[in-house]
Structure formats: C-alpha cells, structure tokens
Symmetry: D3
Subunit: 137 residues, 6 copies
Amino acid sequence: MTTVRLWSDEEAAADPAVKPVFDDIRATRKSDFVNNFWRALANDPAALARTWGSLKAVMLADGPLDPLTRELIYIAVSTANGCSYCIHSHTAAARAKGMTDAQHGHLLSIIGMAAQTNALVTVLQVPVDEAFLVKTD
Amino acid sequence: MTTVRLWSDEEAAADPAVKPVFDDIRATRKSDFVNNFWRALANDPAALARTWGSLKAVMLADGPLDPLTRELIYIAVSTANGCSYCIHSHTAAARAKGMTDAQHGHLLSIIGMAAQTNALVTVLQVPVDEAFLVKTD
Amino acid sequence: MTTVRLWSDEEAAADPAVKPVFDDIRATRKSDFVNNFWRALANDPAALARTWGSLKAVMLADGPLDPLTRELIYIAVSTANGCSYCIHSHTAAARAKGMTDAQHGHLLSIIGMAAQTNALVTVLQVPVDEAFLVKTD
Amino acid sequence: MTTVRLWSDEEAAADPAVKPVFDDIRATRKSDFVNNFWRALANDPAALARTWGSLKAVMLADGPLDPLTRELIYIAVSTANGCSYCIHSHTAAARAKGMTDAQHGHLLSIIGMAAQTNALVTVLQVPVDEAFLVKTD
Amino acid sequence: MTTVRLWSDEEAAADPAVKPVFDDIRATRKSDFVNNFWRALANDPAALARTWGSLKAVMLADGPLDPLTRELIYIAVSTANGCSYCIHSHTAAARAKGMTDAQHGHLLSIIGMAAQTNALVTVLQVPVDEAFLVKTD
Amino acid sequence: MTTVRLWSDEEAAADPAVKPVFDDIRATRKSDFVNNFWRALANDPAALARTWGSLKAVMLADGPLDPLTRELIYIAVSTANGCSYCIHSHTAAARAKGMTDAQHGHLLSIIGMAAQTNALVTVLQVPVDEAFLVKTD
C-alpha cells in the first residue's frame, strides 16, 4: 500500500499542474496507460514534472544507447536496489522493446554473476590494479 | 588492503590447482595480464576454478547479449552494490570493448535515474500495476 | 509472513520478562497500541528490552534534534535499506508528529536526489575534496 | 581515482555548455569553490546541467524543510548507500549550516538505530500493521 | 509475482535439459519437494545447471563449516540484501538442520548489531587500524 | 578520514564519561588495544556506552552461538553492507578466534553464493513457497 494517495484520471485532469504532465506521458508513449508511479508522484506536482522531464531525457530521447539496452541497465540497478515495482515495470518495458526470453535469461545470469563477484571482491578487499586507473594527462 | 594474500605469478605457476586457471585466463583473454581479483581468489583454488568457469560462460562465451552490453550491465550492478574495484575493472573492460565517452555518459545518467526512481518508488511504496504482471496461462 | 510467532497481548502479559517492556511501551507512548515489531521481538525478551531501551533513548528522550526531524531521518535510512515495514511505521509516526503533505513531498525529493547523486558519485569514483576533510589539529 | 577526467577551471571556462553551470554554482553558493563532483559530471554537460538544476530546486530553493534538516536527510541516505564522498561533502555542508557536535552525535545514533531495526524487521519479516496504512477514501 | 513462468513438474520432466537437474535436486536432498526458485530458473536450463552445481558444492558438499553455520551465514547475507524469499527459505533450512529458537534469537541480535555498527562506521568514516591489516611478507 | 576526531588515550583517560568504557573494553578483551571505532564514537559518550554495552551482550557474553560463528555472521553482514572497516576488524577477530584459511575460503564462497541467489531471486521475483512459512497455530 502506498504511503500517499494514488491520483485518479479525474483528479489529474482537474489539476492544472498535473494535467500537462499526464498529457505528455500519454502523448510521448502513444498510450492512454499511466502507471501507478506517476499517480503517486502527482501528490507533488513539481517533483512529478521534474522526474518525468529527466526520465524522458534519459530514457526516451535520442541517445547513444539503444532503448532496449537502457531498459536492461534499469533492471540491473533496480535488482541491486531491491525495487520490486521497478523490476516489474522495466521488465515489461524491456519485453515491449523486443527483449527475447534468451536475452532475459542472459541478463539474469550477468546480474547474478556481478552480485557474486561484487561480494567476493568486497569481502576480499581487493586493491584496484594500476591498469584500471584512468590516465588523466 | 586485501584480507588475504595476493598470489604472485611464481606461486601460481607452482601450484597444480591454480596454474591451469591462470593459464586459461591468459589464453582466453589473449593477454598476459591477470588482475588482482584472481590473485586473491587463488587462495581457494576450487572457488577460483568455479568462479572463472561461471564468468567465462556468462561474460565471454557466445550469447544473446553483445560483449559491450554485458559490461554496461556489470557496471550498473557494481555501482548499486558500491563495489569500487568492480566499477574500475568493468569500466576499463567496457572501454576496451569500444564504449565511447558519450555511451559512458548515457550509462551514468541511466544509473542515476534508476537509483532515484528506485528510491522514490520505495518511499512511496507504489503497488505493481496489473499491466506489468506476467501472464502465466 | 513473519519468520517467528507474533505475541498476543495475553502471552505478553503472562511472561515476566516481556510484560514490563510492553507496559513501558504503552506508558511511554501513552497508547494501548503495540505494533507488530515488538510482538515479533518478544520471542527474545533480552533483545526486546535492549532494543526498546535504545529506541527510547534515541527517538523519544530529550535531545538536540526535534521529534519530527528524527522521523524524517528514520524514513530516509529505511528507504535506502528497502525496509517496507519501517517506511510505513515511521511515515505514520512522522504524520502523527505533524509532518505536512508538503514536508513529505520535500522529504521524498531529497531522498530521490541523494540516491541519484550517491549513484553518480559511486560510478564516477569521485575523490573527496580536501576542503571536506575534518581538521583534527 | 575517478573513472573520468576531472575538469579544471580553465577547461570549464572554455566550454560554452559547462561554463554557465559552473558560473551558476558559484553565484548560487556565493563561493568560488566548485567541488569534484561537478568537475567529474562536466564530461556530460547535459547531465551536469540537469543534475545541478534538480539539486538547486531540491536543496537550495525555498521549501518546507529547513536547510540543515535537508543535509541531515542527505547524510542519512548517503550512509545507507555507503557513499563516502557524499558523507564527507554533506557533513561539511551540514556543519556550514550550523550543525552542532551534539546534533551530529544525535544524527549518528538515529542512523545506527534505524539500520539496526531495519535489519531486525527484515530478518523477522514483520507484516505491516493495519494502523500504519494510508486511508485513501 | 515472478517475472517469468514457474515450471510445473510435468514440464520439467519433459525437458531433457531441466529433468536431470530436478532429478539431482530431489536425489541430493532426499525429498520430492522442489522449491519455486528452481522452477523459475528452469526457464534458462544452463543457468539452472550452473547455479545448482555451485550451490551443491558450496552448501551441501563436505567442507570446513558445518551445515547449520552455512545457513546462518546465508540468512545474514540475505537480510542485508533484503531478499524476503531467501530469508524464508534459509530460515526454514536452518530449522531443518537443528537451529533452536535461542540460536535464531542470537543470530538476529548479531545481524542487528552488525547493521548498526556498519552504519556507524560508515557515517563516521573510521580508518582501518594498522593492527587489522594482513601481513603479506 | 573520519568525519569526527579520534580520541587519544590521554583524552579518554581525562573524560569521566569515556574513561570507564575504555577501561571496560580493555578489561573485557584482556588487551590494551582500543581500535579506532571506539575512539570515533567517544565524541558521544552516551552512544559509546550504549553501543559497547550492546556489543558486549551480543558478541562477548555467553550465548547459544559460539564466538567464531558470531564473527562469521558479522563478516557476512558487513560484506553485504560494504563496510570495509568492519570486514577488516571482524576478519582479524575471526582469525584470533581460530578461523582457519579453509574456513575463511568456505565463508567467502557462501557469501558469494548468497549474493548471487539473492540477486537472481529478486530479479525473478520468486514467490515464497507455502512450505517455508511459519505455522503459528
């Protein structure tokens, strides 16, 4: 259960600060569906507008990483942070952007492998090799 | 400083359980360089062999995700887990596999965005939308 | 579902090690309500007494930070640790201590902002500026 | 060591996308000091501008939570996320905004207490009490 | 709800790559019960085989740490990583291997204590004492 | 570098609230060595006394788990929380309490295994099996 109220379509349409963001979410995604994250964020219209603006710039605008790769990275971070909602929403988004079952399986193995070696490196306290450092001159 | 001893090339070459793994790391990567992670893991040859075998299967064998994408996912998980060594080593690996500065910048923005929305979703306790659930029948 | 049994009021009242702690929780909070955390901890009366004693000293006794600020900090930590129960209980406590919707919204934006810059700093591996170090002489 | 180059004042002044952000950081903070985080982010001017814009809105603009409280919340999140740089920079910022040693000590005890009860609640898997749920009608 | 389909016994029995792993899980554990984790992993038979092989080597084969101690360590990691499923499954496994209520209570106090001091050390940024470093010569 | 001052032996001996705690640390451990954690906590004598009291009860008093097992659990939690100082101090403590190299290696493999399956379970969102739930009647 959310710690705030989820906004209905009626409430969003009646609020001059929320309406343009919900309209832009629908227009950008070419879908009438607005998921619960935005309905919860609507309680703070400034945060709603700022977060949607950043998400649009990072995840939806043109950029050097393709849309599916962006979703795979999002799932990886969300898993390490234990965000169940985010895993569900971005796995659905990755599938909508063409992720195959084989790619999903591969993603999972990479995430599991990274989690394992992260833990091993940490408990071993391995010092960074010189070869990995950025040369700045 | 590691919590175990880092094995030198001489020690590794003299140990019949460690030598074949170090040899395979060098042959597979076509490089004489063996980084500190494996030199620390060498203290437990069975763990060394098992971990290298899994890493090779997941990160280096043929698979549905390309080598650069795999490294980007690895960096994402390592960041969320706060593993400094892993961030350094896999950023170097991503660059070696062709990551441009623009792609690195994009990766960073996705990781930052995901961390932010993960936190917002968690503090809001947003319930998963029906539309995101896997249909199993 | 808990991994231990939740103690009922009857059981707590009948146990000489648990009863005084439940009595003190009720007296200190001026409320008959004892939430599930304490009913779960009751399985280990020494841990129950120690944890309640520390919580009382840190969260309820007089101190330099006011009661609402303490709850905001608690929510922030609980979010980063992904503790759903703790987010719910301390958000309710913050509201009971006067947190407005606007303050809640502001708290959320700070938590999201911190999570984002934490991730960016970590993936960038930014070195600490000299100016931030404590002077100890 | 950073995974990217830190920008010098000269480089920043010579780049038309970076210069206005560095200028605004200095003007807003009324200080010539620009810390390493922004010098690292400068490698991606769009991310630099977006992140500074959000930080300014959340941490420096007028809002319902006072400047010191915002820093205490930032330290709390940064601690739970293990971000050493962020802990140093925001502890320095909190001190600059008037945090006393007694308040710092209290903050630390709250963070430690929250981390402990977060872990206890998680390992106990305590279900959320009805009383903590938001009433949405 | 899983992000993949859970395999039934019938499906597993009909797949030549999954069947031998499910058979080995049952034979090794001397039980017909196969828990949901393996039914989810079955979607990627190579990952299923690799993960079960590692788990068997680490958790079930002879080794210097006894079976109950291994489960206590697993619960500790799973708690810090916030993995609800893992806490439930390994708490059940620990009980099956003889964990008493008193040992469970003690485990919980150690986990809570460690979480608290981890947070305190992190927010204090305590430098490692010389005495704790490994001597490597 | 710490975010607070580390107390010297002379300062601790001169402070009536800190001296008895340092004296008890030395007497309990039968050693003159007081590690940096306590020297940092000394800035808040009440927190110092409370934390030492809890640590003594949980880690040093008689209890159902033996001293070495307690240290292994502490290392596991500290690894998952990424606390470098805590990993170093408790690895040293475990060695002082008899941990062999083989046990250390086994511990590392369990921690790595748990981190991996925690991540897999989380990204798969596996539902808890009925068989793992506590029967409370």
